[in-house]
Amino acid sequence: MSKVPADLKYTKTHEWLRTLADGTIEVGITDHAQHALGDLVFVEVPETGRAVKAGEPCAVVESVKAASDVYSPVTGEVIAGNSALAGAPETINTDSYGGGWLMRVRPVAGGPATELLTPAQYEKLQQEEGD
């Protein structure tokens, strides 16, 4: 069973969200997602300052097997992409909820967001997808 930290929120498309102290949101892909992708070999993160919309593809993670889009869970402005992943994409395999974060977004106040799942709901989704 993949790890699902209790202090995060999740999306149906296997991103996780962490709300930081300053109200910005850190986004990555879940342990379940990295496991399904296999060894990651290439990551493309959005540039700082880019405006993203909820549900819009804004990063790409590629394993040996396949390329996969990562969707922004909120509408807002990218304030940082994790440039360290360019030289070490495997960090997502080893530390998907920590060093493997992809981007930080400052959400538009009251702006749209994709449907977010609680840890329990996300665990249920994983089971339905046969984790």
């Binding site: 296999g38 060894d39 070999v41 290439f42 493309e44 790409v60 590629e62 394993s63 040996v64 097997k65 396949a66 390329a67 360019a86």
Partner: protein, 363 residues
């Protein structure tokens, strides 16, 4: 649920991720695809290739039959046990399948064809075998293991009798023979030394465990694909199919146009290509110079020429950059660009193989 090899339960027990491959439930990886890849380049790995289809062809006229059926010439096979790689073409010169053929005895040859093309291959072979009175027997009772890597032969030989081991270790490249009830051949699809072993299905699980105990890593089809692409070996369905002929698939070296009086199926179509000035397209190796991963069906932009297309692409664990095969206009030069999600990235045309015997051949 697809077809399963005799090792399916063992793959499950070993924690493999199972995927559909040509109608078969096959292990794509056990733990890490890159780890399995490196195990084969640096030591030894074992693959279950029992899904591949082994067909025995017997009859007094089996040699003339194969000289008609195959684009390569089995008359190159003079010593029993010797193997040959060949395409099997349709009348238009398109590739029905690629295969390995073994000369076992004057009236007995064995071919190994791809799993995904089994049905059409058997139909085609049977259809043409009739007029040569050649019997076509699929050997479904055999399992097949590929043990590959610099340490593969010495480790696999430990499973044989003393005499059998000595015999196996003396096999020349691309030669196979019956040893201790198994058919052991010094062949493979990884660019490393090793054996492909056909053995009774009932032996397969025990042999896999024994190989693991000797330090031979369980490897899935994921690593098999990155290894074969590094080794510059084509994959049927990706790099060639019935709509492409060998000359535009990097396979001219497998077509025996001499002697000229050998009328193999597809020959007139290939003669016409030659008479028309040669193939309009060619299959080349690409090395991505920018960061990213080449994938099949990406568009290749060629200066002053029509666009080409990636046929197989991956991240190369040995080179730590992306490599591919691409079909491009024959006049293409050495520098091209690949459209990856709307961005044009630079790639260099190189001559495969990319890697052989653990060594990078391009940089």
């Amino acid at each position: 649920m697809g077809r399963q090899t005799p090792l399916f339960q063992l793959h499950r027990e070993l924690g493999a991720r199972i995927v559909d491959f040509g109608g078969w439930d096959m292990p794509v990886q056990y733990s890490s695809q890159i780890g399995e890849h490196h195990a084969v380049r640096r030591a030894a790995g074992v693959f279950d290739v029992s899904h591949m289809c082994v067909i025995d062809l017997k009859g007094v006229r089996v040699r003339p039959f194969l000289r008609t059926l195959l684009a390569n010439d089995v008359d190159k096979l003079v010593r029993p046990g010797k193997a040959l790689y060949s395409c099997m073409l349709n009348e238009s010169g398109g590739v029905i399948d690629d295969l390995i053929v073994y000369y076992l005895a004057d009236s007995w040859f064995r071919v190994v064809v791809n799993a995904g093309t089994r049905d059409k291959d058997l139909d085609w072979i049977r259809q043409h075998a009739r007029e040569f009175d050649v019997s076509v027997l699929e050997r479904t009772e055999l399992a097949m293991l590929a043990v590959q890597g610099p340490e593969a032969r010495t480790k696999a030989a430990k499973l044989l009798s003393r005499v059998g081991a000595a015999t196996a270790l003396e096999l020349d490249t691309f030669v196979g023979r019956e040893i201790d009830g198994w058919f052991v051949a010094r062949t493979g699809y990884t660019g490393e030394d090793g054996f492909e072993i056909m053995l009774p299905a009932s032996d397969a699980e025990r042999v896999w465990h024994e190989l693991n105990a000797l330090g031979v890593a369980s490897c899935g089809l994921g690593a098999r694909d990155t290894l074969r692409l590094e080794a510059g070996m084509n994959l049927y369905g990706n790099d060639m199919d019935e709509k492409t002929h060998p000359f535009e698939s990097g396979l001219a070296w497998t077509v025996a146009m001499e002697p000229r009086d050998r009328n193999f199926i597809g020959r007139p179509a290939l003669e016409a290509v030659k008479a028309g000035g040669g193939a309009a397209r060619k299959l080349v190796g690409l090395l991505l110079e920018d960061r990213g991963v080449l994938r099949s069906h990406q568009k290749v932009v060629v200066p002053g020429q029509e666009a080409g297309e990636i046929t197989s692409g991956t991240f190369s664990p040995t080179l730590e950059r992306s490599i591919a095969f691409a079909r491009v206009p024959s006049a293409a030069g050495l520098q091209v660009q690949v459209d990856i999600r709307g961005k044009l990235l630079n790639a260099r045309v190189v001559k495969p193989p990319f890697v052989r015997f653990g060594q990078a051949l391009v940089r």
